[in-house]
Amino acid sequence: MSDLVLLIVTGLGLGALYFIAASGLSLIYGLMGVLNFAHGAFITAGAYAAWLTMGALPAGWPVVLRLLVGVLVAVCVGAVVGRVVEVVLIRPLYRHHIQQVLVTVGLSLAGVAAAQGIWGSDPRAVESPAWIGGTTDMLGARLPDDRFVYVLVAGVLFVGLLALLHLTRLGLVIRAGVENRTMVEALGIDVHRTFTVVFALGGAAAALAGALYSQYAGAVSPAQGGSLLIYAFIVVVIGGMGSLTGTAVAAVAVGLVQQLANYYAATGVGDLSVVLLLALVLLLRPTSLKGATA
């Protein structure tokens, strides 16, 4: 029983990270039809931004405060990077979907390589507040505290994005654009401005995921973004491409399946079962995924 509680909490924590990484990806895909490979680079950028900021702040500050500032800086960096990438690289290739994807592919390769060149390919340890490594006893299980943080952040992000989508004009345009971009244009709304905002939003969420994931892993490394990105992709596909609620449900499912299978079957089975879950979803309900064919 205590094992199960532990697994559920760690699974939820992992799912929370997946959701944070996947939310921006899902919005970008849903609205623009762009499969953003550079999302991994955004994640990595966030992780390094937080790490560098924490290192640059006076060592006398409490770690929690430095981490908070680091995450804040990471989010800003992610938003700026996302915005720049959209304006400079994605927008001119509007209507060339494959080329947009290819550009983000090149960007992801170059981004990882640049990080490798500057900071080396080995993981660099990140500082964590003491309590992040601590545990809380609950229902007979010793639960790692950091997972609660991830779940909390993901929850706040989820509610915030839902509010944005359903209570604001921007959200209305995004929801309409996810259904039919062209018709939004044909109603006199400049949907391209929305693209930029959504890319910046996605970049910020990715950077947040990167900063938190480096806490989860205890280190930053250039390849981190790419490995988180793969799960984010799977989550987005299972969640139905462009649906925020679907993404949240899928993220939780993937996190739980992975943890439970890794524990009750064998290490590595969890990752495999995630892919089997994906295959299952595709076989049972392929029509909901037939999005952009371009």
Binding site: R175, V184, G188
Partner: protein, 250 residues
């Protein structure tokens, strides 16, 4: 060709609201519009007719900037053929596409708020012309009937002060009773602003259109008064490949 606009219903002749001059549309290797030129008068309904596949929908899309086009398109004297779609629409053209294209996941009110953020279903024009939509304002547009969706699609373009409306087959797939309703709305709307209407339903054209432009194989083959075309059974058959049935639905 000189563009002589026959005025059949006595409105004062004024400058056309829209002029197309040698408009071409090419998709890859296909040359779909091959130099289309015509004018849309500043009042009443101009019907764009032709057989299936001659480029009627493409003509509307070219005007609104949704098809890659060349040539000259003037709205109230200023060129719009290089503008992006959203700017063309904001400079005064409302577009009611084929198949309605409402946002099915959004409520009726949200569909309307996209165009009029502050009013939505509260806009006076909606209450006046589409009372049904006001009562259904919270319903998802995807769950509406085809006729109701068409009303949403029409209402959207009426929320803005448009100089011209482009309406593509508004009665397609609708039951006869709804066809009449849509026709009533269109006739009402056309009293205050010009409409360029693509329509297959000839009785409807006879009822509400003032002028006709007929396309064939990507070019204009006939222009004239709607009444003249409809009255000439042979010409109708020659241009449109259909014979005018006397017991029309409209």
């Amino acid at each position: 060709m000189t563009a002589q606009q026959p005025e059949s219903r006595g409105a004062a002749v004024s400058a056309p609201v829209l002029e197309l001059d040698d408009v071409h549309v090419r998709y890859g290797g296909s040359h779909i519009l091959q130099g289309v030129s015509f004018e849309v008068a500043a009042t009443g309904v101009t019907a764009l007719l032709g057989r299936n596949g001659v480029g009627k929908t493409t003509t509307l899309k070219a005007i609104i900037g949704l098809a890659p086009r060349s040539g000259r398109i003037m709205l109230r004297g200023s060129e719009i053929q290089t503008m992006a779609t959203s700017r063309i629409v904001r400079s005064g053209i409302g577009y009611v596409p084929e198949d309605r294209e409402v946002f099915g996941g959004l409520t009726v009110d949200e569909n309307l708020r996209l165009v009029a953020p502050d009013q939505g279903a509260d806009a006076p024009v909606v209450g006046r012309l589409f009372p049904d939509l006001v009562t259904r304002r919270g319903q998802r547009a995807g769950t509406l009937s085809g006729g109701q969706q068409q009303m949403v699609s029409l209402a959207r373009v009426l929320l803005r002060e448009n100089a011209l409306l482009l309406v593509d087959e508004p009665t397609k797939g609708l039951a006869p009773k709804l066809v009449t309703e849509v026709a009533d709305v269109l006739a009402e709307v056309a009293r205050t602003r010009p409409v360029l209407l693509v329509e297959q339903n000839l009785p409807l054209v006879r009822r509400i259109a003032d002028r006709v432009v007929v396309l064939d194989a990507g070019a204009v083959v006939h222009r004239g008064a709607a009444a003249d075309l409809v009255a000439d059974v042979d010409l109708t058959r020659e241009l449109l490949g259909v014979s005018m049935r006397r017991e029309g639905a409209a």
